[in-house]
Symmetry: C2
Subunit: 154 residues, 2 copies
């Protein structure tokens, strides 16, 4: 085992479930729900943060309300002698690229990207991604509808 495991009991799980749904759930509300004091919840939260199991919190923005409605996955083929890190560095400069993975299988790099519409997606592919040095060609999967979006269950 290369990562340290931490012992989580049922109460920890309930705390995590509440806060992964809504980071602003009041401690006292959780306390009432699980039947222990607020101070105890606070202690456990410190433990969970120290163990690096909790790594932060985020506000979630609705991309559609910002005008981004097209989500796509793009597989990228690279030329043989390409320095992958340079490609990733270039991808980081494209804000629409939300995820980037080195993957097994046919592609060298696999990304998830968010664009305003199909025209914008095409522009991103042609002007920004396929012009990166070393990129041979790309293969796109456009998400027509996302049915599941969640974190791992705890």
């Amino acid at each position: 085992m290369d990562t340290k495991q931490i012992t989580i009991d049922g109460i920890d799980k309930k705390i995590l479930r509440a806060l992964t749904e809504d980071a602003r759930t009041p401690i006292l509300e959780i306390a009432r729900h699980v039947g222990i004091s607020g101070a105890a919840i606070h202690q456990r939260l410190r433990k969970l943060e120290k163990s690096k199991l909790l790594v932060g919190s985020k506000f979630i923005i609705n991309e559609k309300a910002l005008g981004y409605s097209t989500l796509a996955f793009v597989g990228i083929y690279l030329e043989q002698a390409t320095n992958n890190d340079d490609v990733v560095k270039a991808l980081k400069r494209i804000p629409e690229v939300l995820e980037c993975h080195y993957t097994t299988g046919q592609f060298n790099i696999f990304i998830k990207l968010l664009s305003r519409n199909n025209a914008h997606l095409m522009q991103l592919l042609n002007n920004d991604i396929q012009t990166i040095r070393g990129v041979l060609r790309t293969e796109s999967l456009i998400s027509l509808d996302q049915q599941i979006d969640r974190q791992i269950k705890i």
Copy 2:
């Protein structure tokens, strides 16, 4: 335009940037940083929530600390006459499935899933996914390393 656009000025952007990085950033800290009062920040936050641009907040858990270290994308081919919704319903019951998309291209359904290790991934594919009625076959991309993980820039 099928989704309402909302006008966001530079101050709104700074607020959003702070809170999408850390949902617990104090309002007064943001206020100091952008040079207006806390009450003003609060008003703007209400506006942003009402406009559905802010849709909540989440604590982020480090899956690796929970023992989940293998991330994979899986393309799913379905039989012709399959009811896609039933397949999605079955996928929802598998907690390791984090995302599920209807996609264009070769696959009918494309999912992202998180497993403890390669053995666990194989078990999920063989025992849980490929046994769903209507699933013909699957094609997996395993993420060896994730280099980018972020929300859209605001």
